[in-house]
Amino acid sequence: MSELKVPTMAEMMASGQQPDVLFWVGCAGSFDDRAKKITRAFVKILNKVGVNFAVLGTEESCTGDPAKRAGNEFLFQMQAMGNIQVLNAYEVKSIVTTCPHCFNTLKNEYPELGGNYEVKHHSQYLQELIDDGKLTVEGGEFKGKKITFHDPCYLGRANDVYEAPRTLVQKLDAELVEMKRCKSKGLCCGAGGAQMFKEAEKGNKEINVERTEEALEIKPDVIATGCPFCMTMMTDGVKLAEKEKDVQVFDLAELIASANDL
């Protein structure tokens, strides 16, 4: 496997360079074993296209999203202001991230605290690379496969991004099938609002089971997501249903990377 080229902002600055875009990796993308694969897949694409990007590396810190949704506004703003200081010191103008939670927070909640950046979710970024002719996607192994896209709440309802992920799936020459609840009606995977980090409250079903059942109903070959937390939830759901042999859960970046044999 070829070595990934992942320059950090610090290295770039030391050599007097400025990247075109900062890749905000996020906590899940940095530490969660499954999500790290998404991070690597996305970097493979960036490397292939030759995008002039950088990461913050060890200077990156949690955006504060889970703290804010849990109600800890103080911790959120501490994180935000710390991150904004770093980002502004590096004169970051443009950010791409593979996490819809980071995407939402950076894009919507940082400006008022002094952090103004053009923020894109990687689905939007990949679509632009394709539209600009910088990235070509051949269907490859997903040609003709049935793929359904699970809308992450913080990408879809929260920020009205519904089409970019679907365009990517269609670029794979795959058959895009929709779940009954999709787009603005999409059902949450159960991880948002800091639920990812605690046991669910008393109920009669786990939310990710409800959502996975809905996905399995339409018998897809692949459940595609665009969020590391949805990834965890849907993967667990598929395992619980003992369907991991029939149905795979992939992030959009992984689909595009595999289709290009990266």
Partner: protein, 442 residues
């Protein structure tokens, strides 16, 4: 003459009582905290035109959406007829608009058509609620009063529409008899089929029936008007301002608390004097987050009074679907019910000359439990579904803020997450120095 006096008294009393109750609701809403929603007026107007006037979010569910539009359009247009009834009542005349001739006949005919459609729609609504027992009309918060309220509204509309049609039928018969006071305007498409119901009643009987129905209809309308402030039906008025003052920011964007920002900025300010004495506190110390309704903004309070209890929010809430106790509709109804209680309490206290109202209760815990708050995934399905653009999520977040920041009451797992974020910049216990390790892992 006596009837004119009775009518005028009823009209004035109904109007005064209504104005008084509306003022009380306004005063309650004003108990909320300031919030500036005076920006982007053009956008707000067009949103109001689409969502409130155009009912764009109602038709997402086509059956109930369409029926609702019929009732709503019918209700508004038939009110033109009420204008005539009021003028008739004040002047003691009968059908003052009849001078419009053919056009008048067309109008009343159209009203009759609408009245029938409204009547049928309301009957279908009653069947959906009570016979088909559609799930979203049930649930923990849909107890005695909300359930009765919904049925009362529908039954009242059925009665009012029936009275209107029967009144016209009696009128038609009286015209046929050439009864003095009854202007010749011809028969109307729906009521003409109801004439038979009056059988062989003579002129006196018919006049009694017509007048009885006329009074029933108009007094019914006065009564219904004054029922609104006590009912979820108040949404027919508040839906408009409520949508106008909607949150226009992306749904995912939560407010950044200004009070917190001040403190955090101070901590980040290298020139701040760490030994400086804190400024003398003025008035009551500001509360972080919301414990009671008075900690919420006026818009959140208006949401409560605008809530139609339709349950579309709860029906799409992932927590509720999977059996958790959270119901966004209940959050809205609790906000409203508690506000009613606080508003009444404040007014009573004022009358007694007591300066501060405190009944030892609060929205948090006495109405909304921690368990409900902790079940929310902040997915915005509720705010997306709400046909009047309510924002239950914002109330949930504000209550959570109080729990976490004022009471330090977080589930143990969350406390761990906070500590991790503070110490190593991630919700999990990984060293920040390892943040780039993925680069070299295959």
């Amino acid at each position: 003459m006596i009837s004119i006096v009775i009518f005028c008294v009823a009209l004035v009393l109904a109007s005064l009582l209504f104005a008084k109750n509306v003022r009380a609701i306004m005063a309650n809403i004003k108990l909320g905290k300031d919030l500036d929603r005076s920006d982007r007026k053009g956008e707000r107007l067009s949103l109001m035109a689409r969502v409130a006037l155009g009912q764009s979010k109602m038709v997402v569910r086509p059956v109930s959406g369409l029926l609702h539009i019929i009732v709503y359009v019918g209700f508004i247009i038939i009110n033109i007829e009420v204008l005539e009834i009021v003028i008739d009542g004040i002047t003691g005349k009968h059908r003052v608009f009849a001078f419009m001739g053919g056009f008048y006949h067309f109008l009343i005919s159209a009203f009759e058509g609408l009245a029938l459609l409204v009547l049928v729609s309301c009957l279908i609504f009653l069947i959906r609620r009570n016979v088909l027992r559609i799930k979203r009309f049930f649930g923990n918060e849909m107890t005695s009063w909300p359930k009765t309220d919904a049925n009362l509204i529908l039954i009242t509309e059925v009665l009012l529409m029936s009275a209107f049609l029967l009144m016209n039928a009696a009128d038609t018969q009286l015209q046929a008899l050439g009864s003095e006071h009854y202007t010749q305007v011809g028969s109307f498409p729906i009521s003409r089929h109801l004439v038979g119901l009056f059988g062989s009643a003579g002129e006196t009987g018919l006049i009694m029936a017509e007048r009885g129905l006329w009074w029933f209809h108009i007094i019914g309308i006065f009564a219904f008007l004054n029922y609104l402030p006590y009912s979820k039906h108040f949404h027919i008025l508040l839906a408009f301002p409520n949508v106008f003052y909607s949150k226009l920011a992306p749904k995912g964007q939560l407010t950044n608390m200004a009070a917190v920002k001040k403190e955090v900025e101070l901590m980040f300010d290298p020139n701040a004097d760490p030994y400086a004495a804190p400024p003398e506190p003025v008035g009551e110390p500001e509360r972080f987050g919301a414990k009671d309704v008075t900690d919420l903004t006026w818009k959140q309070l208006m949401d409560g009074y605008t809530c139609t209890e339709c349950g579309r929010c709860t029906d799409v809430c992932p927590a509720n679907i999977t059996g958790k106790s959270l119901s966004p509709r209940k959050i809205m109804m609790d906000t409203r019910d508690r506000l009613d209680e606080v508003g009444k309490g404040i007014r009573t206290a004022k009358k007694k000359g007591v300066e501060k109202f405190d009944d030892g209760k609060s929205l948090l815990r006495d109405y909304i439990s921690e368990e409900e708050l902790l079940a929310c995934t902040s997915c915005n399905a509720c705010t997306d579904a709400c046909p009047v653009n309510n924002d239950p999520l914002s109330v949930i977040v504000d209550l959570r803020r109080y729990l976490i920041m004022e009471e330090s009451k977080a589930p143990a797992e969350w406390t761990g997450v906070f500590t991790n974020i503070e110490n190593n910049g991630a919700p999990w216990q990984f060293a920040q120095a390892d943040r780039l390790n993925w680069k070299n892992e295959a």
